[in-house]
């Protein structure tokens, strides 16, 4: 049996269900999502099809190209698609169309037809169109386009068989019969060029008609190629005359605009001929919901309420399994200690790995709930409404309306917030949002704030100070966004023209895919990263070993009668060991950097340990201020000891520093992944550290004047 390879390029506008289609025809589990731009890479799926007539086996590899509204290299994704279609080798274009938005989708089809490649058009989501009362005459459309048209639904599996047949059938034909009919005055000129080539028996890889169209469209690639042909000399005057005629008829000289209008007219004409819409039920429902949800006055309060609900759920409901996980890891650590004894292995597993990884894993319930909520808001179509409501305010600061979701998430935990920034389409919008996310104080910083405000302002003022910290962090973030937009990401504003999709009840499968994917990502990437970081911090705070110090203290402790004396001695020992560890060395070495802010070496070490996780700052301070390691943020004695040894200006500078510098190791690793490289992390690290330093310096000196 003969076996043939067919390479298919899958092209369509965003959200037409390309990936679901691939999922449906092969067993490959690609990532399927409703986030525009999910498919940023080319993926190939092998699938076999045996057609009955000649039963010949096909190996069909499908390249899933990023969604593109048109081939005008407007966004990064569109450029990838365009470059592939023009430069790569493939046999057939498989154009997927959302049946419920036929006209808009046919615009892309018109552009694809001009490629001169064999093509199959797929009317996807045909079941949804039927529900909306839209009837499409696919035979008629096939006649108009000159290519096979197949109705499919990735959801029900309808039409997939026919689609594979159509691909095999088209593949057998010698060339494409695709056509796009232009206005008469353009058709005349195309005809003139075609006969020009015909008379000269010009050898061309693509049909004359397509060659002529690309020449008239002033396609740079084809000009470059033709320029080197001898026929160019003769072609030039003919082409010039043809263009002059077209300008005259169209009444304008922008050839791009002329063809854009032509495509539009073609798409509209084709739609008018093949569609009949009987009812508008679904649309009217959307309209009714919209009347309430995007109301001028009610819209924003409703949205804030929904967000408030989501965060309540995330952090109250999430805290229950979070405790279980925490307790589980504690038990595991206990068990490790009792099984392996006091050795190095036991310490690295219990204190290093289990401590660090446990902290990350315990955030998993939060992340799952949060992403479930966000996925729900996104797939129902509500998120577009939120952008609509907030864009006015956010645009003033150089942010996009959609930036709101990650920013609010950032108050909970910066890690999922970085991931939530994926919903932003434009790269500069996404990067600006990623850069300022750290300014939204995450919940892990609360213990530090509580400890310091309690110690220096008394617990009665702590609430107000906390509020002040949060607000000033958020304001600083908006301010930073503006600066980034003005000085760094200066590319022209992304125009805000977006579709408000119909409200849809998302399938559980889709939601599951999104949440599962995010959770897996979080665990595998952040988990491996934090694992390494935990071991590193554990090592830096436990090495080099100083048996002589331990020995001398153990002797003293044996002599001590009193339990409190013993505890005192043990705390002293830990303090000295910490001072002599690598971490202590680093702290002392870096102290000159922090000296202008009034920080001593202990505060420096605490800040540096805080790079691993903000929770570590409090426990490090506890150890260093000689009070054993069982210190919580509400510990009276730690507060007292801080008040006695740290001057107020330095304490306030410390709070400011904590507010601004990078959140934690896990966040840094996720940032690197989301931003797209370590270079971005370097900017983030240097930028936030410098800002933190400068503002702490200002705070320190201003407060010093008043105290």
């Amino acid at each position: 049996m003969k076996k043939e390879n067919i390479r298919v390029a899958l092209v369509g506008q965003p959200n037409v269900g390309k990936s679901s289609l691939i999922n449906a025809i092969s067993d490959a589990k690609l990532h399927v999502g409703n986030f525009a731009g999910v498919t940023v890479e080319k993926m190939e799926v092998e699938t076999k099809y045996c057609d009955e007539t000649g039963c010949c086996e096909y190996d069909i590899s499908i390249v899933d190209l990023p969604g593109a509204y048109s081939l005008n290299d407007y966004t990064l994704e569109e450029r990838v698609t365009r470059d592939f279609l023009y430069d790569e080798e493939y046999d057939i274009v498989l154009n997927v169309i959302d049946s419920t938005h036929l006209q808009r989708n046919l615009l892309l089809t018109a552009e694809l037809l001009e490629l001169g490649k064999k093509m199959v058009v797929v009317l996807n989501m045909i079941d949804e169109a039927k529900e909306e009362g839209i009837e499409i005459d696919s035979d008629q459309l096939s006649v108009i386009l000159g290519v096979p048209v197949v109705k499919t639904s990735a959801r029900t599996g309808e039409g997939l068989e026919e689609m594979m047949k159509a691909i095999a059938m088209v593949h057998k034909k010698p060339s494409t019969e695709s056509k796009i009919v232009f206005s008469d005055f353009i058709e005349e000129e195309i005809e003139r060029l075609v006969s020009f080539f015909g008379e000269r028996h010009y050898r061309s890889d693509i049909p004359y008609r397509h060659l002529a169209i690309r020449l008239l469209k002033e396609d740079k690639r084809i000009y470059k190629k033709m320029h080197e042909e001898p026929i160019w000399i003769e072609l030039l005057p003919v082409l010039r005359e043809a263009l002059d005629h077209i300008y005259l008829h169209a009444g304008k000289k922008d050839i791009e605009e002329i063809f854009a209008d032509e495509h539009f007219a073609f798409a509209k004409g084709a739609k008018m001929e093949v569609i009949s819409a009987s009812s508008m039920r679904a649309r009217n429902l959307t309209q009714k919901i919209d009347n309430l949800l995007i109301d001028k006055y009610l819209g924003i309060p409703i949205f804030l309420f929904l967000m408030w609900g989501l965060f309540q759920l995330t952090f109250t409901l999430g805290s229950i399994p979070m405790e279980w996980i925490g307790a589980g890891f504690d038990t595991l650590a206990e068990w490790t200690r009792s099984t392996f004894g006091d050795g190095v292995l036991s310490s690295v597993i219990a204190d290093g790995i289990l401590g660090g990884v446990g902290a990350v894993v315990s955030f998993l319930p939060n992340i799952i709930i949060l992403f479930f909520g966000i996925a729900l808001l996104e797939t129902t179509g509500y998120m577009s409404r939120v952008s609509f409501l907030l864009d006015g305010f956010f645009h003033k600061f150089g942010l996009h309306g959609k930036s709101f979701i990650p920013l609010v998430t950032g108050f909970g935990c910066t890690v999922p917030a970085y991931m939530a920034a994926r919903t932003l389409k434009s790269r500069s919008d996404r990067l600006i949002t990623l850069y300022i996310l750290g300014f939204m104080s995450c919940s892990a910083r609360i213990p530090i704030y509580v400890l310091f405000t309690g110690a220096f302002f008394g617990s009665e003022h702590a609430g107000n100070i906390l509020f002040l910290i949060y607000i000033s962090g958020a304001l600083l973030g908006l301010f930073a966004a503006k600066i980034l937009r003005v000085f760094v990401f200066r590319d022209a504003d992304d125009p805000f023209v977006m579709e408000m999709p119909k409200y849809r009840l998302p399938s559980l499968k889709l939601i599951y895919h999104i949440v599962y994917g995010q959770a897996k990502d979080y665990l595998s990437k952040a988990g491996t990263f934090i694992l390494a970081a935990s071991v590193l911090i554990w090592f830096a705070s436990n090495y080099p070993k100083h048996p002589e110090i331990v020995n001398s203290y153990e002797k003293k402790m044996e002599k001590a009668v009193d339990d409190s004396d013993k505890r005192e001695l043990s705390a002293q020992m830990q303090k000295i060991l910490m001072q002599e560890s690598y971490l202590g060395e680093i702290g002392k070495w870096s102290q000159p950097f922090f000296a202008p802010l009034g920080f001593d070496w202990k505060m420096s070490v605490a800040l540096e340990a805080g790079l691993a996780a903000k929770e570590v700052v409090v426990s490090t301070l506890g150890v260093l201020y000689s009070l054993g390691d069982e210190q919580g943020e509400e510990s009276q004695s730690l507060q007292k000891s801080l008040r006695e040894s740290i001057p107020l200006p330095a304490a306030m500078a410390f709070i400011v520093f904590v507010m601004i510098y990078v959140p934690c190791f896990a966040a840094m690793s996720v940032f690197t992944r989301e931003a797209g490289g370590f270079g971005y992390l370097a900017y983030l690290f240097v930028g936030t550290t410098l800002t933190a330093w400068l503002l702490s310096f200002v705070t320190y000196n201003i407060v010093k004047i008043f105290v």
Partner: protein, 74 residues
């Protein structure tokens, strides 16, 4: 008059679009083109963003873009 001058519920047809090729293509691909009819469905405070219904699709635009679209009430 401009698209941004329309009030909620008003219907108009597009007379001309003043935009560079990038924005025009974007608008075209959402079905916004000369001669098309649209209806304003809503807007946020101070008309910073405007929602229109065109060819059975709801599209959101920023005021800056809506300013570039000249319309005629129908």
């Amino acid at each position: 008059m401009k698209l941004s001058d329309l009030e909620i519920g008003e219907k108009a047809s597009i007379v001309s679009i003043d935009a560079d090729s990038e924005l025009r293509n974007r608008l075209h691909s959402f079905g916004i083109a000369t001669g098309e009819e649209l209806e304003v469905k809503g807007h946020s405070l101070a008309k910073r963003t405007i929602e229109i219904d065109i060819d059975r699709t709801l599209i959101a635009l920023r005021k800056e873009e809506a300013d570039r679209i000249a319309v005629e009430k129908v």
